[in-house]
Structures are given as C-alpha cells and as structure tokens.
C-alpha cells in the first residue's frame, strides 16, 4: 500500500472529525444555555462534515488510481524510546465510502431527530451524544493505524452505551446499555490483543506498516491475528456468539437504532475485516471462520426475526442477519470484499429508512412497539407506508431495488466458494433470504394492512390512539433514504462501480466459476423469497391477527421467541460460572487473605493480653524479678568466664 501525502482539501480532512466533536463539546459543556439551538448546531456540524467529505471524495476521485491512498499526518501520539506512535488519518476509497455513508445517513437522521425528539426534555443531550458518535465513528474509519481505529472503536462503544441508556430512568434501557457495553468489551479484548501482537511483531500499528509487511508473518501468527480481530468484529457487529446485545439495544431512541445499531456502528466489524484484507488473504482458517460466523449469524438472525412482535426487534434481528451476509461476503476473500461493502452501503440506506419508518409508526402509536396493536396504518400514514414499503422491497431483494443487486451478488459468490463451503454457504444464505422475505412481509402485513386493531385499544397512558402522519422534518429524511434504497444497489453494482472504486483499498474483485450459473442462483433466490412472501400472506396476511400474543405455539417458535436461547446459554456458560467464581474469590478473600491478616493481629493481641498480667502492681514481685534477672546476668557472666 503506497500512501501519498495529502494535498488540498484532504489535508484538512481532520475537520471531518473535529466538526462533530466540537458540536458535542459545545452541547455538553454549554449545558442548558444551548437547549434552544443545540439540535440545530448538532445537525449543522454533521451536514458540514458531509459536504466536506463529499468534496474530499471528489478530490480523491480526481487523483490517478495509484495515488488514491492519501495519508494525513497529524501529531505524535506517543513517543517513548524506540516507540513512536503518530496519530494520522488515511483517506482512501474505502474510508471515503464509509465517510459518505456515516455523514450522509448521519445528517438525515440528525434532521429526522429534530422532529422525533422535539418533545423530549433531553434533546440537547441526545444531539451531543449523536455528534460524539459521528466523530468517533469517523475517527474509526479515517484513522491510519489500529491504535487510532481502536480509539474510535471505543468511542463509538461509549456513544452507543450513552444513547441506548438515553432514557436512563427506565430500568430496561439501563440494563440493555450495560449489556451492550459488556458484550462489546468481550470483543474488544480480541481487538486489543491483536493490537498488542502487532506492536510485538511489527513495532507499529499503522495500516501501511502492518499490512505492508503482513507477508513476513508466520502462518500461525497471521491466523491468531485474524481470529482475534474476528472476535473484535463479532462483538461490535453483533455476530454469533456475541449477537445478544444488539436486539436489546433497541431500548434506545429509534434514530439511534437507525444510525448506530443498523447503518453505521454495527458495520464496523465488516470494515475491520475488509481493512485487514492482506492479512486475511494469508490465513485460510481466518477467512473460513469469518464466513462461517457470517453464515451462522445470518441464519439465526432470520429465524429469530420471524417470531418477534416488537417491530424494532424484528428489524434488529434483520440487521443481525444482514450483517451476517456482509461477514459471509468478506469471509470469501478477494471474491467478496467489495460485495460485502456494497451490501453494507445499500443496507445502510434501506435499514436506516426502515428504522426511521418504524420510528414514525411508533410516533403515531404513542411509542407502542407491539405490531399486534398496529394494523391498517397504510391509509393513515401514506408517506411512511410508501417509504417503508420501498425499504422492505429493497431488503427482501425485489428486483431492481438495492437488495436484489447486493444480496444476490453475495449469494452467488458464496455458491462459488470451493469444496463443501460453496453449497453450505450458498444454500443457507438462500434459505435465509426466504426467511427474510417471510419476516419482513409479516411485519408489513401486521403493521400496514388488515384491520385497525388500535381502534379497540387504549394506549398505556390511557388515551385512545390517533395515528397521524409524521411532520415533514421526519418524512423528508425517510423519502431521501427510500430513494437511496431504490437506487443505491443499482448505482453501486452497475459495471462494478463500487468494486472498481475500492480497488486501491481492497484489491481487484475476483470472480470464480460456481457449480451453478448466475441466472439459476438468481432465480433460486427469487423463488425462495417469493415462497417466503407467500407463506407470510397465508399465515398472517390472509387472516386476522390476534391482539394477544398466542401462548401455545410450536417448539421452534418458542425457541425463536427466546432468541434461540442465546441469553440462556450466555447465562449458563458465562454469567453463572462467573458469579460462582466471584463468590469463591470473595470467600477466599474473606477467609483466606483476611484470615491470615486478622489472625496475626488476633494472635499478637491475645498474647499481649496474657503477658500484661505480669504487671501485678506488687512492688515486691518486681523486686524479685529484678533479682532473678541480676542472678541470671551474673550466672551468665560467670559461665562465659569460667566454662
């Protein structure tokens, strides 16, 4: 990787991070004085960042292909002896794609939040955290070393924690935030260990230094690095076995779910694997591990998504599943890196759109998230319905919308994997596409069609429901995202546009011959999705939905409702033994360590209590003692003298 020095606007690309960071600082330090205009400032900084990112990308596109990895050296971060760590940015096509996604979708969601959070007393705090998130996320994708990436990585973790627990007075939100933070920490251990290994092996953590000399690594260390980084990626991206935090993270405000837990932060794992591509190319084990994790996750996400009635949790499991597709893609190596990123960008549009739509529906339904209480909203909220519907079609891969191009490409590449992998990955991904169609169609039917079940209900605060379309400040971002959902896939994959753009970062997108022709696979996926839609219509759309959740359900549904027992397994395997270990250590500390210390003190205290009794107060006993002592001394002297 050759890095050329930055010139022109790109040299100022640190402003991309600095602007939202300054916004966050002003809003957090300014306190209530900034309440009136805080949301406007927060939105403005991100929009400015987007404009700057766009200009930088245009400048980057103007450079010739070999010089599109532009480095910006900022300052010396750590300097001690031989160790010299510089903080710097790397602006290359991959970073540029992420910058545009983050600031673009980020701007739209900031605008949406102005309306969504209008009546919330903590709106300023909300925008401060959102700005903090955008700054950290930009640092994550722009940093030129793993250390910088790690700072951003932890920054987005913090912002995610703060935003999930935004309504911190609700115990569920506080618990979910802690769960997200702790499960992320498990993954972060992997990333931190990988960075330590890099320091030990290369003496540097810069992308150029590590990836440039990755060929020199012994195979075992490359595999270890690959697996450790995969652990980090799994934590951040909600992949198996660390997926359980992501659905709970939906306790946060809906714009947060859209921006952080669907479009940007949770895709950081995909970015990490793609960024590490020269290393993963060296380790077959690492690559296959990534692909297997992706396949498992895309399947369990899709299965669980079918059983939930909470609109945001269905979308959350859909996110888990779609990121599984991205992992599968980047696990395929040079045959899939660009496909994974393409799906990531397209997913960023339609999933953000879907979440904003869900937020709009919740807004109309007094923040009720139970789809069994919805129904027939299509007529009441036409704009939400249309934008949500376009996102839905994009997600299930309806041609020619986004998902059709990006997801099909991944499934085709998966089929082409060698040996057992091809059929396994390909077929499972196809089945999951059918499940995706099922749960999303179910969601559409339950929310927008059928009878108006909310008419019979009163909301928890005792009022009747009066669903209404959301204000323009909320619908406008939804419309823009819907346009993205429709066009992004075609735009990105047309003539391998994105793959060619990413070539300087990810290498050429390779293709290989699979066991089935592309047209067959495409048809297979479409048929599978159509079956999913049909089954959803037969099961949900055709007959009325009960308002009460059915209790007696089949075994698979029960398992899916309990997240395929992910929480129970975590509890049994990690939490409970951890509690036991802690109790045991407390016991050892109380009885063992404290016992030794307290025992010594008690021994000394007790024996001095006994010795004290020698002080009787009788002068004549003292005199006898003195005499005895004197006799002893004399006897001793005589003994020394004469014996």
């Amino acid at each position: 990787m050759d890095i050329s020095p930055a010139q022109g606007l790109i040299a100022a690309s640190w402003l991309l991070i600095a602007l939202p960071l300054a916004g966050a600082a002003v809003l957090l330090l300014g306190g209530r004085r900034t309440d009136r205009w805080g949301h406007l400032l927060g939105t403005a900084t991100v929009v400015l960042s987007f404009v700057l990112g766009l200009l930088c990308t245009v400048q980057l596109a103007g450079l010739d292909e070999g010089g599109r990895s532009v480095g910006v050296d900022l300052f010396t971060f750590i300097s001690a002896g031989d160790l010299d760590v510089h903080a710097g940015l790397l602006f290359d096509p991959l970073s540029a794609a992420f910058v545009l996604l983050i600031t673009g979708v980020g701007s739209l969601i900031h605008i949406y939040s102005i309306g969504y959070m209008a009546h919330d007393p903590g709106r300023r705090r909300f925008f401060a955290y959102l700005n903090l998130f955008v700054a950290a996320m930009l640092l994550l994708v722009l940093g030129n070393s793993y250390l910088a990436l790690y700072v951003g990585w932890e920054g987005v973790g913090l912002a995610s924690y703060l935003l999930i627990a935004f309504w911190y007075t609700r115990p569920a939100a506080a618990t979910a935030a802690k769960k997200a933070f702790i499960m992320n920490r498990v993954g972060d251990v992997g990333l931190a260990l990988a960075i330590f290994i890099m320091f030990a092996q290369f003496g540097t953590t810069s992308f150029a230094g590590v990836l440039g000399s990755a060929d020199l690594l012994a195979g075992g260390i490359a595999t270890a690095l690959g697996l450790l980084l995969l652990l980090g990626a799994c934590g951040k991206s909600g992949q198996f076995p660390l997926q359980a935090w992501l659905p709970d993270a939906m306790e946060g405000p809906t714009p947060v779910s859209a921006l952080i837990h669907a479009a940007t932060m949770v895709t950081a794992g995909v970015y990490l694997v793609a960024r590490m591509n020269p290393l993963y190319d060296l380790t077959e084990t690492g690559q296959v591990a990534v692909a297997i994790i992706g396949t498992i996750t895309l399947l369990i996400g899709a299965i669980i998504g079918c059983a939930y009635d909470d609109i945001k949790k269905v979308l959350a499991y859909s996110t888990v599943s779609q990121i599984g597709y991205m992992f599968l893609a980047v696990g395929l190596g040079p045959y899939g890196y660009a496909l994974g990123i393409a799906h990531l960008l397209a997913h960023g549009f339609f999933k953000a759109g879907l979440f904003l739509g869900a937020g709009s529906v919740m807004h109309a339904m007094n923040d009720n998230v139970d789809m069994r209480h919805y129904g027939g909203l299509a007529r009441v909220m036409p704009i939400t319905f249309v934008t949500f519907g376009l996102g839905y079609l994009a997600l299930i891969g309806f041609p020619p919308l986004s998902g059709y191009f990006t997801k099909d490409a991944i499934i085709e590449a998966a089929f082409a994997a060698p040996g057992w992998q091809g059929w396994t990955f390909g077929l499972l991904a196809t089945i999951a596409a059918g499940l995706t169609a099922f749960y999303m169609t179910r969601l559409m039917f339950m929310t927008f069609f059928g009878e108006k079940r909310w008419k019979k209900l009163t909301s928890p605060d005792g009022h009747a429901y009066h669903p209404h379309e959301s204000p323009a400040v909320m619908t406008a971002p939804m419309i823009v995202l819907a346009i993205g959902s429709v066009g992004a896939g075609f735009f990105l994959t047309q003539g391998h546009r994105l793959a060619n753009w990413l070539t300087p970062s990810l290498g050429e997108l390779l293709e290989r011959e699979g066991p089935l022709p592309a047209a067959t696979i495409s048809t297979l996926v479409l048929v599978c999705s159509a079956v999913g839609v049909l089954v959803a219509w037969l099961a949900v759309g055709r007959r009325p939905t009960p308002v009460e959740r059915p209790r007696h359900v089949s075994l698979p549904v029960r398992a899916a409702r309990r997240d395929l027992y992910a929480n129970a397994i975590n509890e049994a395997l990690i939490a409970t033994p951890g509690t036991w270990l802690a109790r045991f250590l407390v016991y050892v500390d109380n009885r063992g360590v404290d016992g030794v210390v307290n025992g010594t003190a008690a021994l000394l205290g007790g024996s001095s209590g006994r010795l004290r009794r020698l002080q009787t107060g009788f002068v004549r006993s003292y005199a006898l003692t003195m005499l005895g002592g004197a006799v002893l001394v004399v006897a001793g002297l005589l003994a020394v003298r004469f014996v």
Partner: protein
C-alpha cells in the same frame, strides 16, 4: 586477718538486705534494707580498693553515699505522702498501677 572476711561480711549484709526487700511489707523497713544493700556494696568497693592499693573504689564509695543520701530524701518524701493519703506504709497496698 585477710580481706576475704570483709567480703564475706559484705555478702551476708547484701543477702540480708535483699531478703528484707523481698519479704518485708513495711516501706520504711524495705527502704532500710535497700540502704543495707548499698552499704554492703560500699564495703566491697572499699575492700577491693584496699586490696589493689588504689583509690578508685574509695572514690566510688563516696559517690554511692551521695546518691544514697539524695535517694533517701526523695524516697522518704514519697513514703510520707503515701502514708498521709492512705494511712498505711505497706508496699503491698500501693498496687493501683497495674495491668
């Protein structure tokens, strides 16, 4: 007459003094026994000075007498004040300062 008789006498006097200190309760008697022990030591010192033909022991004996005189002053004063408060000169009654 050999000097060893003086030493034997001093030993006898010292023993009487020591036993007196240990067995008697009356503070005045205990005090006199202490004086007896001091003077037996003085006798020893003088005897040895005579035996070696030097003056060191005799000078030391004078020092002991001076110290003993000072000690008598302080000691008797203490015994007097204890007697005034407790109406007793028994050393066993003065046993408040203990564990």
């Amino acid at each position: 007459m050999t000097l060893s008789w003086y030493l034997v006498l001093a030993a006898i006097l010292f023993t009487i003094g020591a036993v007196g200190v240990l067995v008697r309760r009356n503070a005045i008697v205990v005090f006199m026994c202490v004086e007896l022990m001091l003077n037996s030591v003085n006798l020893t010192l003088v005897t040895f000075a005579r035996a070696t033909g030097t003056l060191d022991g005799q000078i030391m004996a004078f020092f002991v007498m001076v110290v003993a005189a000072a000690e008598v002053v302080v000691g008797l004063a203490i015994i007097m004040s204890i007697y005034r408060t407790r109406r007793s000169a028994s050393v066993d009654d003065v046993n408040l300062l203990k564990y």
